[in-house]
Subunit: 443 residues, 2 copies
């Protein structure tokens, strides 16, 4: 029989324990933070009717859809993000759900795009949204969620860059460019990546601005300084109701976040943040890592006026954000923030003496009962081989007991990094796990 | 513009918060239990080359495959279980991984089967396996994992029914039926579902046994009693090396599990457990709920000699099990073991007085900082409306502060079920969260 070559599809990847352990921890942290603000989990199918997904993410997204005909002749496709399924979901259930509705959703999405470094055809999104709320309180909270998320993930140097579409549109009003705001903002969004010259070229060439106004647009997006300085600079330019409303919302977000403990170093007003997507209508934000700004935004989002208009007549405004889990994981790998361990527990119990199998099993059960995870080596092989395995996997401790130890009721606790070994009693007065062993392993 | 009907595909389902909250909790419990035994997480792509999956689960499984041609003209399919991807995975990386390799994998799988009650075309599997271990220690541990899992999930009445393929084959040897063991076991596996008469009919009609031997096979599978009684009854029938080895392994599993604290009520030898799949070669088990045996096994598995033989020449024996998460969730729903809450936190902070927005935000941040999750109602609507929302969502407490409370530095803590309200100080001497409020909400 000829063998089938074990391989994965281009753009797809396997996660081995050393990557999956921190990846799982990231997801757990995200869940904990989202929950602590009252966001509830939901899940939706990987496959949807194609009509639900087609045309919702633009031409590029349609081309990248994994779309096919199922057994029942249905035209189906794999979801390419979690926002379109959310729109379908709230349209379907909003009477049941009640508003405001705050949900998070962590799950894989699929895009058949050209693969480049750090881009995969399957990746996990980690979204949170508040639906049915006009009030800027939800915008403030979105910023607090992102701040808390990065703190909980262990980051100290990161920047949430915030802006407001209403303000941007107000500024464009003042240049008499309101009608061309969508294409202008799409071009402006590339400013940090491609630079001023290229943006000017596109604003003139593709969008059709004259040179003076292209320059003025770029000048606005390039204003720098403290949040207060930028606000002062923008104030006189923000014409009309729209611009003033945007400015007011921005002030509220900055003030609210400060009150809740977000330092200014973590939250900066940035007039160049435009976000490429057309559906944003108010607050928009991106998040950059202080030590690795080059990888781009690792958490982005914004406010929208009408999430589910394609599926329901109900007007559902809201605000949300999306954590780019796999990009963040790649960044943390580069910043050496990930532990190199390949085991989820710290202790390996060596298996030395087959006569005592039931004693080992009982001890392992006692340790787990005390909340101490332990891997029991499954075969009574040579101790050297077991310790080599323990070392390779990255355990901190090996617990060693042979016939003498079982007779004396003690164990050898070996710290694998240093080789230091201590002898400890295994049982307390009532036969329970000894407190000295529990204390040594809980440390 | 005409609306698109928001709907899901037949056989697929959305998970709303009231179902997703306990579903997530089940997955977390499974992860914690798997980890505590030293199993590490892995993940693999949803999509595989079709040649990896086709023919691996039998004819039925091939028919149910979601298979299509991707953008690059590749023949691809969605995985239908997590075992075939595991086989591909260990064949691909086993030099890297090192043996023994213990992994768990929680993820969705897809089967385009006919939908019936409780059967979906997308469902989550929750598997654990130990690869590269011949020793029966790994079999004992598999039983311990399952026992611990159901205890941790809150079950007290459940039965792990265990048997051994070597023993079954030894018993068939004694009837001179060794060569037809695969089809016999496949038929025998249906015994609890279809009854003796039907199984006898199939054994005679399809497999070609004579009536006496069909009766003998069924008689063996029907032996009942305590574990010791069944062992005694089987012992004289288990001919040859195979049968004796199977009997020895079964004894080791029963004895090891007892030593580690598994009561006999939870682990019973059952000669009728055969498992339909051909690849099992030793210990096999299924798990039934004492209060709902009718839904069938909720956690099954067994030992195999050679997991990845289609992808590598390396012989990789192992043992594993699979928790049927969605079936278990349906059972827990039926048994009313699921809380009816639709929020992940217990406390809602009402928003009463817009003048104090930053004060509310600060208090919410303090609560979260103390580990108390809190949802801040995002708009200063009428209190009655906010409390109605809190009630519908299932919060335990509403925290209410208006102008008077802010002035006095107190809050009204309302227990929503009883309506009882207490007045508590919000701040301690240093402006930190007051210990009386923290204590009341941590309860």
């Amino acid at each position: 029989m000829s063998l089938i070559e074990p391989r994965t599809l281009k753009g797809f990847r396997d996660y081995l324990p050393e990557t999956m352990i921190p990846r799982e921890r990231l997801m757990e942290t995200a869940r904990e933070v989202y929950r602590s603000f009252g966001f509830s989990p939901i899940d939706t199918p990987a496959l949807e009717y194609a009509e639900i997904l087609v045309g919702k993410g633009g031409e590029e997204s349609d081309k990248q859809l994994y779309r096919f005909t199922d057994h029942g002749g249905r035209d189906v496709a794999l979801r390419f993000d979690l926002t379109v399924p959310l729109a379908r979901f709230v349209a379907q259930y909003h009477h049941d759900l009640g508003l405001p509705f705050k949900r998070y959703h962590i799950g894989p999405v699929w895009r058949g795009e050209n693969t480049q470094r750090g881009r995969y055809r399957e990746f996990v999104q980690c979204d949170f949204d508040t639906i049915g709320v006009e009030s800027v309180t939800a915008d403030i909270e979105a910023v607090l969620v992102v701040h808390q998320l990065f703190r909980a993930l262990g980051f100290e140097r990161f920047q949430i860059r915030v802006n407001n579409r209403k303000l941007l549109n107000g500024l464009l009003d003042s240049l008499d460019l309101a009608e061309r705001s969508a294409p202008i903002l799409r071009v402006l969004d590339k400013l940090p990546k491609v630079g001023e010259a290229k943006v000017a070229e596109e604003l003139i060439g593709s969008v059709g601005l004259d040179g003076a106004r292209a320059k003025a647009v770029i000048a606005i997006a390039s204003i720098q300084g403290s949040n207060a300085q930028i606000l002062s600079a923008l104030e006189p330019m923000a014409h009309g109701e729209r611009g003033q409303q945007g400015l007011m919302d921005l002030r509220a977000v900055l003030e609210g976040a400060r009150a809740a403990g977000v330092p200014e170093a973590c939250l900066q007003l940035d007039p160049s943040i435009a976000r490429g997507l057309d559906y944003y209508t108010g607050t928009i934000f991106e998040t950059f890592l202080g030590d690795l700004p080059g990888i781009g935004s690792v958490c982005s989002g914004g406010r929208y006026d009408n999430l589910a208009q394609l599926y329901t007549k109900e007007r559902l405004p809201g605000i949300g954000g999306s954590l780019g889990l796999d990009r963040l994981l790649a960044a943390m790998e580069e910043l050496k923030m990930l532990p190199s361990t390949r085991t989820p527990v710290r202790v390996m119990l060596a298996y030395f003496d087959a006569q005592h199998l039931t004693d080992y099993l009982r001890l392992a059960a006692q340790l787990r009962g005390a909340g101490i995870g332990v891997e029991f080596y499954p075969e009574p092989k040579k101790l050297g081989q077991q310790l080599k395995y323990a070392d390779k996997r990255g355990f901190e401790y090996a617990l060693i007991l042979g016939g003498n130890e079982w007779a004396a009721g003690v164990c050898q606790l070996k710290e694998l990094k240093t080789g230091a070994t201590r002898e400890l009693k295994i049982a307390g007065p009532q036969g329970e796990l000894s407190s000295e062993l529990a204390a040594a392993l809980k440390g």
